[in-house]
């Protein structure tokens, strides 16, 4: 199944502005993010802390709804879902 993703600001330099990734049924948001980073340590360090947990100030939206970072491992994806991945914000 196909999952579309979108990123902003400095994440664009690492992941591209947007893209599609084919995943197997049962893939969670956490699993998707791990596919996105692959084995690239820099990309991994942008999204995950040393325990492999999504960093606190990385914000994930699934189909426009924010999901808690501690829920990425229990949030399944469906074909056609759209993820938005925000780097830590710095407005104001």
């Amino acid at each position: 199944m196909k999952i579309r993703y979108q990123t902003y600001a400095r994440f664009v330099e690492f992941f591209g502005k947007e893209g599609d990734i084919e995943v197997i049924p049962g893939t969670t948001v956490q699993g998707f993010l791990e596919l996105l980073t692959g084995e690239d340590e820099k990309k991994q360090s942008l999204l995950f802390d040393e325990n492999g947990t999504v960093r606190r100030y990385v914000i994930i939206l699934k189909n426009k709804d924010r999901i808690l970072n501690e829920e990425t491992d229990s949030t399944d994806l469906q074909d056609g879902d759209e993820l938005i991945i925000y780097p830590p914000v710095s407005g104001g």
């Binding site: 400095r10 914000i59 938005i84 925000y86 830590p88 914000v89 407005g91 104001g92």
Partner: protein
């Protein structure tokens, strides 16, 4: 009222926030400081930024309300001295107005999808989040 816009901020209607119940109006303006860059660049996800700011204002209202607030944040290229963000909060008393305005800017800086970059010699350097 929430505005995410490229254009300079129109301040002519700010006092319209004042109602018969208002005893104080607090204004906070975040501006571009000369930090050695040529200019700043702001990027945002407008729909989500408006949505999250609306939630933040409601939270402030539930804690210090009733308040009437206007929050305007600009995006795009901004030069030294320009106003980036303007928060206006009208409340019954000054303490509530100050606290609500402070809450809104502090939450904005950690929750609202807006990103800032220094631009120097056409090189863009994205600035890390405040609590990163």
């Amino acid at each position: 009222m929430i505005f995410i816009q490229k254009e300079p901020i129109d301040t002519s209607h700010l006092f319209d926030l004042i109602s018969p119940e208002t005893g104080a109006l607090v204004l906070f303006a975040g501006t571009v400081r000369a930090d050695g860059m040529d200019h700043l660049l702001f990027e945002t996800d407008i729909d989500e930024a408006e949505k999250e700011l609306g939630i933040i204002v409601k939270e402030a209202d539930s804690r210090w309300g009733p308040i009437r607030a206007q929050v305007t944040h600009r995006y795009g290229r901004m030069h030294i001295g320009e106003v980036i963000v303007l928060i206006a909060v009208a409340a019954g008393h000054r303490n509530e107005a100050f606290l609500a305005a402070r809450y809104i800017i502090d939450e904005l800086k950690t929750r609202v999808p807006i990103w800032k970059a220094d631009v120097f010699n056409d090189k863009v350097a994205w600035i890390h989040g405040e609590k990163e």
